[in-house]
């Protein structure tokens, strides 16, 4: 597993995957749809897939003495690594907004989504959608990057739904400040985490099955 991840990091990853981790800092932006930060992180991972395709990485990997499923596993390991790194940054900044900056005027006057556990859960859902729609779709051919388009549509619908949620009567608690509605907020975060694990797991299985079938 370590060898596979090293191959991804040292040979096929684009430097943009690391640069776009900075988008996780968007968590601090007031008056901005902060879930877009999660989308930009996945845009960085997308660049690594583009890079890998141009470097003939998939065929090179398939020629190595590893199972075909390991070629898929390497891509998932790398993507999950970047996603979890972004999630860690988002979590730290969300905690900052929930504690030290909880009463800061720009955040109190924020009409858009607050940084809270619900936001973190939705960021995980976006990462899960990326894994399911883009990575799962990529391994249909192992060279077409077009599954990124349905992923963009699904993501912006999800961001729209998450941003709208707290304006719907009865769902105001989604936009809690600080530690308000904490049990509900943690439940929503855990829900996002479960969805991320399920979407990624299902996607990995689908991608392995698809990659086994294709001719390189």
């Amino acid at each position: 597993m370590k060898t596979l991840l090293q191959k991804e990091i040292r040979l096929s990853a684009s430097v943009l995957s690391y640069c776009f981790l900075a988008a996780a800092v968007m968590t601090l932006l007031p008056g901005y749809p902060i879930l877009c930060g999660a989308f930009f992180v996945t845009l960085g991972i997308f660049h690594s897939f583009q890079n890998a395709r141009e470097a003939n990485d998939i065929v090179y990997s398939a020629l190595l003495p590893i199972a075909k499923t390991d070629v898929v596993k390497g891509k998932y390991l790398f993507s999950v690594m970047i996603e979890l790194a972004a999630f860690l940054i988002m979590t730290l900044l969300t905690l900052l907004r929930m504690t030290v900056l909880a009463d800061a005027q720009p955040y109190r006057a924020n009409a858009l989504m607050n940084a809270n556990p619900f936001f973190l859960g939705m960021a995980l859902v976006i990462f899960g959608l990326f894994n399911l729609i883009f990575i799962g779709g990529f391994f249909k051919t192992a060279y077409k990057l077009s599954p990124f388009v349905p992923y963009i549509i699904a993501t912006f619908l999800t961001i729209g739904a998450a941003e709208t949620a707290h304006h719907i009567p009865g769902f105001g608690a989604c936009n809690a400040f600080g530690f308000e509605h904490f049990p509900l907020q943690i439940t929503l975060l855990l829900g996002g985490l479960v969805l991320y694990i399920v979407l990624t797991g299902v996607s990995y299985k689908i991608a392995c099955a698809r990659f086994e079938k294709i001719d390189l």
Binding site: Q6, K7, A62, L64, P65, I66, K213, L216
Partner: protein, 239 residues
């Protein structure tokens, strides 16, 4: 001793069919694989590397079926092509440092030896290499993990006559050390010099599979070279 066996390999594409391809490679021999563009050489090689799915047939290495033993078989074989470059923007050293971790048998001394022999600079990137040097770079990877079987897809294409000569010398030395080589090429004069056996494929079917001397005798006319025989056979097939 037969070290690689293909038995009844079929693969159908919309405009091409590899039809019942069967042959074996003998241990410690160089087998030339000839045929014009589109005859089925690369499809056969891809099926030998499990890069494509065959419709039927079986491929065995060292007595083991490829399907089900792919990982252990790939530890013992090497592949090189003159037509693709891997990771064009990484240095050769970076590619080596990652690749060697996948091969417990990787021999860093052999790697350095071939790098010197091929005059390769490990600080260079594949995109900075000439076509001939790319071939040598690909060969370097195949030779550094002590492969017992080398599958070479047009390894001498793009090489200058001196480099080709060096490479053929190397293949013959590897053969003496017991390495089995499948050498797919259009440059039949290379095979005249180093091949023990010839496999000739045309329109997806194996037309001949025999020792080179038998091939020259059975298919050639007096004083005809391998290239002349190959050209005549192709013209006759077209007529």
């Amino acid at each position: 001793m037969e070290i690689v066996t293909l038995d009844g390999i079929c693969k159908t594409y919309p405009a091409f069919r590899l039809n019942n391809v069967s042959f074996s490679l003998e241990s410690g021999k160089i087998t030339g694989f000839i045929g014009r563009n589109g005859a089925g050489k690369t499809t056969t090689i891809k099926s030998m590397l499990n890069l494509i799915h065959t419709d039927s047939g079986e491929i065995r290495y060292f007595g083991l079926p490829l399907i089900g033993h792919e990982t252990e078989i790939k530890q013992r074989i090497g592949y090189s092509t003159g037509t693709v470059s891997w990771y064009p923007r990484k240095t050769i050293r970076q590619i080596i440092d990652v690749t060697r971790r996948f091969y417990p048998n990787w021999d860093e001394n052999a790697c350095r030896h071939y790098m010197e022999l091929f005059s390769l600079d490990e600080r260079k990137k594949p995109m900075e290499l000439s076509e001939g040097m790319k071939v040598k770079c690909n060969l370097l990877f195949a030779l550094s993990h002590g492969a017992e079987v080398l599958i070479l897809d047009e390894p001498t294409s793009g090489l200058d006559p001196f480099s080709r000569d060096e490479l053929l010398e190397l293949f013959m030395k590897l053969k003496e050390n017991g390495v089995t080589i499948l050498f797919s090429t259009h440059i039949t004069s290379d095979l005249e010099r180093c091949a023990d056996n010839i496999i000739y494929i045309s329109h997806g079917e194996i037309q001949a599979d025999c020792p080179k001397t038998d091939f020259m005798q059975n298919y050639g006319k007096p004083d005809e070279t391998l290239e002349e025989i190959f050209l005549r056979l192709e013209r006759e097939a077209r007529a």
